[in-house]
């Protein structure tokens, strides 16, 4: 347990609206072990992106982190000054985003944007040195003809290439933690696989930790060592990837797995979870999943179940877990 690179405790991120404050992330505890990958899964709107932006302290107005701790190597990021936090961004925690099409600035060359990230953390580096390092970074993400690409603009690259550039930029300063927010969602399936391979190889090379945020369970199964499932701003289940997929404990996870099409099983219908994610300003009392839960009992309406250990290394926030009926 002591070898966690990042620890998140009781993180709560709220947005001020006309109807008062609403919590997009509401009391999340997570940890990311050194050199490993934590997958965060959930439907859109469950707070997984806000969670990652909270770690970077990049939640945009009118949102703010209201409570909790985010410790990187034991250092609380939330109590750093703005200048100190700026120094952490890019050099210790880097981030890549869903839309490689819009995440790069269209009016600057690829090379400029990569060297800019390096210069932000190393003001003394010479121009030629930065150029060499950026071309190296492009090589590492397997971009062909990196010397030529260095001087090109984002619109001259394909989506997959742009995401590679984003990764090169993120890794330019050798961060300890990479937060990848839906890194493959906007890409073709074949390109997706290449990008995931690349991330895995780079992780082995550098020993960095990765937080992989996605709604795609296939991606998580392939990449993550540990998985956290989020629902309506809270973590509802946490387990090593194998345990989560082999023996899901929370009805929501079960529902998610049931909605994944598979080729190796004869299935008449995909199981869908009835209803939809409640909006954060109209959360149900008790367990937030109970209105959609086929296993709900009266107590679920009144009590908000805490995340509790069910099996070795496996936690779930459900009063009824483990229930044999789940398996049926």
């Amino acid at each position: 347990m002591t070898d966690d690179l990042l620890r998140i405790d009781g993180l709560r991120t709220v947005f001020r609206t006309h109807g008062g404050e609403i919590a997009a992330v509401d009391g999340v505890d997570l940890s990311v072990p050194r050199g490993r990958t934590l997958g965060i899964v959930g439907e859109s709107g469950c707070g997984k992106s806000v969670l990652s932006l909270s770690v970077m302290r990049l939640v945009a107005h009118p949102g703010r982190v209201a409570a909790g701790h985010v410790a990187l190597d034991g250092r609380d990021l939330l109590s750093l000054s703005n200048a100190e936090m700026r120094d952490v961004r890019g050099s210790q925690v880097a981030m890549i985003f869903q839309e490689p099409m819009t995440s790069l600035n269209p009016v600057h060359t690829v090379g400029f944007q990569i060297t800019e990230a390096m210069r932000a953390h190393d003001a003394r580096a010479s121009k030629a040195d930065l150029r060499d390092r950026a071309i190296d970074a492009l090589k590492r993400v397997r971009i062909p003809a990196p010397e030529r690409r260095f001087d090109e603009y984002p619109h001259q690259l394909s989506g997959g290439m742009r995401q590679r550039v984003m990764i090169a930029m993120a890794l330019a300063c050798k961060p300890k933690l990479l937060i990848a927010d839906e890194p493959t969602t906007a890409l073709d399936v074949t390109v997706q696989a290449q990008i995931l391979d690349l991330l895995r190889d780079l992780q082995q090379e550098t020993g960095m930790s990765i937080i992989l945020i996605t709604h795609d369970l296939g991606v998580v199964a392939e990449m993550a060592d540990e998985v956290a499932v989020m629902y309506a701003g809270r973590v509802v289940e946490r387990a090593p990837a194998g345990a989560l997929f082999g023996d899901p404990m929370h009805p929501y996870t079960l529902g998610l797995l049931g909605s994944v099409p598979r080729l190796d099983e004869e299935r008449e219908n995909l199981l869908a979870i009835e209803g939809s994610v409640p909006p954060p300003f109209a959360l149900p009392k008790g367990c937030r999943f109970h209105p959609r839960c086929p296993f709900a009992v009266p107590e679920c309406r009144s009590e908000q179940p805490p995340l509790r250990p069910i099996a070795e290394g496996h936690q779930a926030a459900c009063l009824r877990a483990p229930v044999e009926a789940f398996a049926a």
Binding site: A60, A94, T102, N105, P106, H108, A120, R148, M166
Partner: protein, 325 residues
Amino acid sequence: MARRQARRRRNNVLRHAIHRLILAIPVMFGVVLIGFLLMQVVPTDPATVRAGPTATPDVIEAIRSDLGLDQPLYVQFGLYVWRLLHGDLGSSIINNVPVVQELGATIPATVELMVASLFWSIPLGILLGTLAAYWRGSLLDRAIMAISVAGVSVPVFFLGLVLIWFVGFQWQLLPFTGRAGPFYTPEGAMSLILPAITLGGVFIGPVARMTRTAVLDVLTADHVRTARAKGLPERLVVLRHALRNALVPVVTLVGLQIGFLLGGAVVTETVFSWPGVGRLAVGAILSSDFPMAQGCIIVLSLGFILVNLAVDVLYAALDPRVRAA
């Protein structure tokens, strides 16, 4: 490698410019045609003006045939274009001075006034707009927007008259009539200040508003978030990743607004007795000096076309995606 890339970039911009220049030719022809026709629909006979109030009908007729006004309209226009292509815009029918000579004397004054006005108002407008966008909703934002609304609403002549009355007349701080010399002489520079403040003053508002909108738009863009995630200081995030991108639409809009600024120049020149093309045009129209008025119209339009051409080129220089197209 980088040098070759830079050269290619320049070549693209150049090709873009030439392309735009070719497109400007039909526009220019249209301007000449409309300017010519406008003068035909004015209910004054140039021959009568030329002859003076005491002339007999015979004299007027002689002048009419002398000026070629008895020819069919298309022949007159053909002749006009033919002379125009040879750099001959005719002569004033009031004092017989060649139009080209008169324009040559006034163009520098107008260019000087325009450049001096834009020189301070565009940077200030962009600065104010950026500040307003960055601190959106703050007191600063509201103050800047209030100033800009006031700037848009105050007519040019009014601002000019207020400045003349207080700064020029009451406080006697600056000269307010005429052009004492080219801008590089101390007297010339002094006499340029008030007209340039007047004409630039009405331009700050629109520039600030357009910049604010464009910067606000860019500030929420994904690539700005990327820039922050890289650990760039806010100053660089705003300058390199928000303002730099926002300049693309701002330049376009500013280019279009410069047409209105030319209209403002006519008023400013009249108010301050500034010896420019605008004042020349007003005088020519009031005295029915047709060739002179036509010449002024052509010069002002040409100015507008050139500014837009410059904007197009600048646009391509600012946005690599345009360059490639």
